[in-house]
Symmetry: C2
């Protein structure tokens, strides 16, 4: 991913997009720190040399994994952005958030939220800042949706957006352990006063 070959030589025996997807699932399952380069080696099916020549560092593999994850879940974000029903879109987004990870075959919640939880404790971390920005983006969409109801004043919108963002965060954490029914109950309760 770092250089473009212009001279013909031995060919790569793996496809970077494919091995990154495997890495993504491993990071998703174990978290960043608990995933060693040796584990990545096994899971991705390639040698450490190949990992480092393709992605530069463990951090690099993780960032590509995050990109991969974001791409996988981009559909539900596009749906959220393009729909125009207001609050109902956000609620649908919550339901999508517990459905899609299940379809991807991973019961470990949301990789972005998990990563945020893992890195939030460390100061000055690049990944943490990136994710905070990402979440601010989600909050901005929530505000936009809430603003479609003209009866709401600015202060209410701000409070509700904040509330929903934290609720989404809680939902992602909960989806690692709670049953689907409990998660659905939680979503219904969350939107009862919006």
């Amino acid at each position: 991913m770092y250089r473009i070959t212009n001279v013909m030589a031995r060919k790569k025996e793996y496809i970077e997009e494919e091995v990154i997807e495997k890495a993504m699932h491993l990071f998703w399952h174990n978290g960043y720190e608990a995933t060693s380069v040796r584990m990545l080696e096994k899971e991705m099916g390639i040698n450490q040399f190949s990992i480092y020549s393709s992605f530069g560092s463990k951090h690099g593999v993780f960032q590509e994994s995050l990109k991969c994850y974001k791409q996988k879940v981009s559909a539900i974000f596009n749906k959220l952005k393009t729909s125009t029903r207001g609050v109902e879109d956000i609620k649908e987004f919550f339901y999508d958030s517990i459905r899609v990870p299940e379809e991807l075959g991973n019961q470990k919640g949301c990789l972005v939220t998990n990563t945020y939880n893992e890195f939030a404790e460390k100061e000055d971390d690049v990944i943490s800042k990136e994710i905070v920005d990402f979440m601010e983006g989600v909050k901005a969409i929530f505000i936009e949706k809430l603003s479609m109801d003209s009866s709401k004043d600015e202060a209410t919108i701000r409070k509700q957006a904040n509330y929903l963002l934290l609720a989404k965060h809680g939902l992602a954490a909960a989806s690692r352990v709670n049953s689907k029914e409990e998660l659905e109950d939680y979503i219904e309760m969350t939107f009862r006063n919006i």
Copy 2:
């Protein structure tokens, strides 16, 4: 903490309760994995040998730290248990939850919740199970409080208790980064539909 001395010899130059409190703050600040025994050594002000002879292992230090933490926050749990105003007690408990850590001089949320988040990814973990039990205990108290309102049916109580437990979880996570005002808004929003 493991053995009782019955023969007189050289005296310990530290008090276990005191050094554990320092360890607790370090774990609280950095999380379990990111806290090394060398860091504990510095923070606790005692040698590694002393750490291991007093607490057996890093895990042992952490478990004692958790006990220490629980004792520090026991006041707000006792308040929650002994009050009899129903839902209002739970709300007060939420407010206490963001106030007490602040008073303890640590802005890193709730140690129990942080630990839960850190260990939830690993399977078969003793600490994780212990905390799940702890949270079930909290949920039981919520149910008790909610049941004081006789107009609520059992299904509603169950849903609301579940909702509040997840909301509490989200609040603890949020208190590491959000402002006090945002947290207060979140609490108010959470209890608007109970």
